[in-house]
Symmetry: C2
Subunit: 210 residues, 2 copies
């Protein structure tokens, strides 16, 4: 259910505006999807809405948070402190949503010992010990592409169960480890494709950008 986080965002926005109840259509607008799909998704979590009224905002926030496993804090390790890694380390969105960064690892001796935010960069040589000691469950991978698979293998062996990969390569891993990928230049390339399409038409035709 990749849409739950979207709903959560829309719900929090609604709560900020002191809305106590929200309809599937209101949620759909906030999340940028169809209202039928909102109802179907939410009915999957149990019958949480009241007919004729809508969904209780606070109740749904709790329910979705629980389902997503956000009720307990998750320990995150960031591997690779280049431009992107550093920005991620400084990004407060993680902290705000219950993710605690427990370590920053890099292989470059020049970086080791320097501080980012209030954490010190440590040596990637000690990856296994650090992951185990601090109970890191999730890793954010922002190394150069050639080192990503190796780093991933070590993270998996050390007990990490989920990896968010920013390196522009496909990573292989065992089935019990979830690997997601975010690739900035891939996203831009997809946009480039659509942009080109638009340049062709007069700009009138519909192309879902989604």
């Amino acid at each position: 259910m990749a849409r739950l986080p979207r709903y959560l965002q829309a719900l929090i926005a609604a709560g900020d505006v002191d809305q106590t109840t929200i309809s599937s259509q209101g949620l759909a607008r906030g999340a940028g999807v169809n209202s039928a799909i909102v109802r179907k998704d939410l009915s999957h979590l149990g019958a949480l809405g009241r007919r004729g009224v809508g969904y209780d905002v606070a109740g749904l926030v709790d329910e979705i948070s629980t389902v997503l496993g956000l009720s307990t804090e998750r320990a995150v390790v960031i591997v690779g402190l280049g431009n992107l890694g550093r920005a991620l380390a400084a990004y407060d969105g993680f902290h705000r949503r219950g993710f605690r960064i427990v370590a920053l690892l890099d292989a470059d001796p020049a970086k080791i010992g320097t501080e980012v935010g209030d954490l010190r960069i440590e040596s990637a040589d000690d990856l296994e010990d650090i992951v185990a000691d601090r109970g890191a469950q999730i890793a954010v991978l922002a190394t150069p592409a050639p080192h990503a698979q190796d780093a991933a293998d070590r993270l998996v062996a050390a007990g990490v169960r989920a990896i968010l990969n920013f390196a522009p390569v496909h990573l292989d891993g065992p089935d019990h480890v979830s690997i997601r990928r975010v690739d900035l230049s891939t996203e831009l390339q997809i946009l480039s494709f659509y942009e080109q399409l638009q340049a062709g038409t007069g700009g009138g035709d519909a192309v879902a950008g989604g």
Copy 2:
């Protein structure tokens, strides 16, 4: 065709290793997908493979680059120079793939005039003029969430035809503008969900992470 950039990456990796030809299965491994789907995707671009041999690496790179519109340089403007925006501005992956950053815009007077890489941050007040003058076709949005929709509206009005949105909100826009979203905390939340699932099982069951 959201998979073409992946194929491109796998092809470039194959070329780096002096491979002159590649099978659908080899490409599939590199891109992390099924080989049948590779063949179907590529057959859609025309018959480019040779039976019994595979696909010509250099030829395919050219073909996919053309389809994605990467053969001409695209002008990109980055709006919002916080941690993430700055990292994106410094990210060389864009440049390497034919995207040229033509402007950096921010609303914060303290940031205006400072340099990031070899570009100076300019005032968001001049957004319309700057986008028009420099022919920016694609915008990267990394503003705080509350300003994202407003910035998007102005970008669209100024003639931008594609937006890559890093702000954690859904953006509305006309059909002729493609809007894609990358949300880091959403990604982490999805991982959190899978992580939780894994913690429940002994770690043996299969859960696709992709």
